[in-house]
Subunit: 143 residues, 6 copies
């Protein structure tokens, strides 16, 4: 990425946000207890409808209580899944963001290392199972 | 996969296992409390050294107490990471195997749906962050 | 996948659907002009909230007029993107489903071949650009 | 990438290009109406035969008229597929390059947002279909 | 894939092949010393220009002597790369095809296990390097 | 990645390494004939058990003689597989590291170009085989 650019499109600053964008920005900061809007959302705001769609969904899944939903998974487990998916996809922005979230939730680097060990292990065994085209073991019927 | 084949190489049956392969097979069944050796391991056994390497590592990470190690993550969290990685990679054998493990640990399909919701969400936002080449937000220095 | 299973969890049949699930099923059939609910949705229904979230989002993006939104992309272009993403990810269910959608929209196999040629080309050049770690060309600043 | 490097191998400058490389460089600039040769091609030129192979194929698929072929897809649709594939693969060079191409063809950022919305959506549903190992719906025979 | 289908489009049988398709089919069988045309090519033939493009490129890279080119890599090394890429991408058709090619070239299953060990190892370390966003070590300038 | 960071966690310097970490660091430098410990290992050291697990495995597979094992693949072939996997996954750190290793083993950029040509080719055909959901050709039974 050439210096001075944060994305392939010009992000919408908080000062320039109006209407739907301003409302989503405010909800992001309130829900996530942030003082500024992260780059990701400022870039999505180049299409306000898409910004709203992504935020509504992320809020429902990652902040269920704020969205008026109940959830069985706890926030730490959800962030662990987020970092596992992001590491598997090799998404730089996402790995940084979700690692920061895990640290903020109190996870130390040694425990993070355990998460990564599991991530590394299954990226390996996934490749091996595909490499040999191993068929699933006979499983009991779902019911 | 043509009918009657379970992989691209002929798996080593339990009856045919000797030496290092037989020892690993026995340890897999004991550690995982299984009555037969899953296809994955029977295929890896076509190279006994590799079988041993993969099993030793998986045992250390997924069955730390059996390997004489302590761990901060619990077994359910480890299996959740396994299924998140496997779903992201689209590995059929692995998704089947780790979903079965989650069910065996007592997870109901509604909670599994929450896991999958998080997996689906971040596969989407990962693609979007990459799609726009969003740069990481300024983060506090690690320490 | 063992014979007789369509997924790792038991799908919710249309006959068994009630409440939120029944409402989403009805909307899927009406919006997509289908006589039965595809497997994908019947599996998601094992977590009704997740079913609703995914459907709401897909409807907004792929059927904007039904969701009361306007869109600049036409339905054929959207399905072309869907098949390009699905082929790149190697998702069997998705490739089948979106190829069927393209055919239903009138695309012949020769034109589909052109779509696939572009998909194949860029999966190759993407790997090459990553393989050599090519830096982006200097671009004018976005504004 | 350490500063001052644009790739893992030394690119071939236009000044240093001779023979097959010079001929391909000239054709790239003419066909794509560019004033300089992008980094990608200068890196491939470290193996002139490979440079020629990749260019010949890209020209045939992305610039069919220049290659003396006819095509049913229009240039905008081809670039939309290119960016969808590149975003799905998370290829930085490619996302930058094809987003620039879409902008040059006149696409505004709001429409780009619609493209990305579809890309994001199907990266999510692909993961979900794989996550649950959903089998294809019964389809009519092709013919 | 519903029974009785080999792809999402109807493949072109050898009996039905004419013109460009027939010529490519003949060259595939001659170059690869096969008695029938594999499914992959019969599916690509639904767009004859694309069939020709893919075959011309594969022939140049994988059968350089038949294409009148010289090469430094030997056929076994090329097939090893093919299976490594295919396993990493989890492509079922490709893993089957390239494993068969390796076996035909004389590789025994134990050596194949070594190939797979390396493939599995680096799918793991790739994920870990991405998981921690490790920056490249300072490298000497290329020259 | 914000300037001045080499990863999402603080790497363990050689000066700060003690116990298990110091022992692994020493073995890495001895086995790989390096004067300093690469970033990758210094980051993994934030969880000493994981560092040891990854190194033990990599040593066994990539430096079999040092691990007291024999191997049929030669070091160059193993590094070729490493770069093929890393390029396919788009892992920046890994592509840099394994390209450097190939160059150190004496591979010139033209031969590297042949490796990349094969990598690029099969990333394309993998996508095409998945894009059309091509079924494996009928293969003789394994034995």
């Amino acid at each position: 990425m050439p210096a001075g650019r944060i994305a392939t499109v010009p992000p919408v600053s908080e000062a320039a946000a109006t209407g739907k964008v301003a409302a989503v920005y405010a909800d992001i900061k309130k829900t996530k207890k942030l003082e500024s809007v992260p780059n990701f959302w400022r870039v999505l705001a180049t299409n306000p409808d898409h910004l709203e769609l992504v935020w509504t969904r992320l809020k429902a899944i990652m902040h269920p209580e704020a969205a008026g939903r109940s959830a069985k998974l706890d926030p730490l487990t959800r962030e662990i899944i987020a970092v596992a998916v992001s590491a598997t996809n090799g998404c730089a922005y996402c790995v940084n963001s979700h690692t920061a979230a895990l640290r903020k939730l109190g996870m130390d680097v040694e425990t993070l290392g355990e998460v990564m060990a599991v991530v590394g292990l299954f990226n390996s065994t996934n490749a091996l199972a595909d490499a040999y085209q191993v068929e699933p073991d006979v499983l009991p019927p779902v019911d």
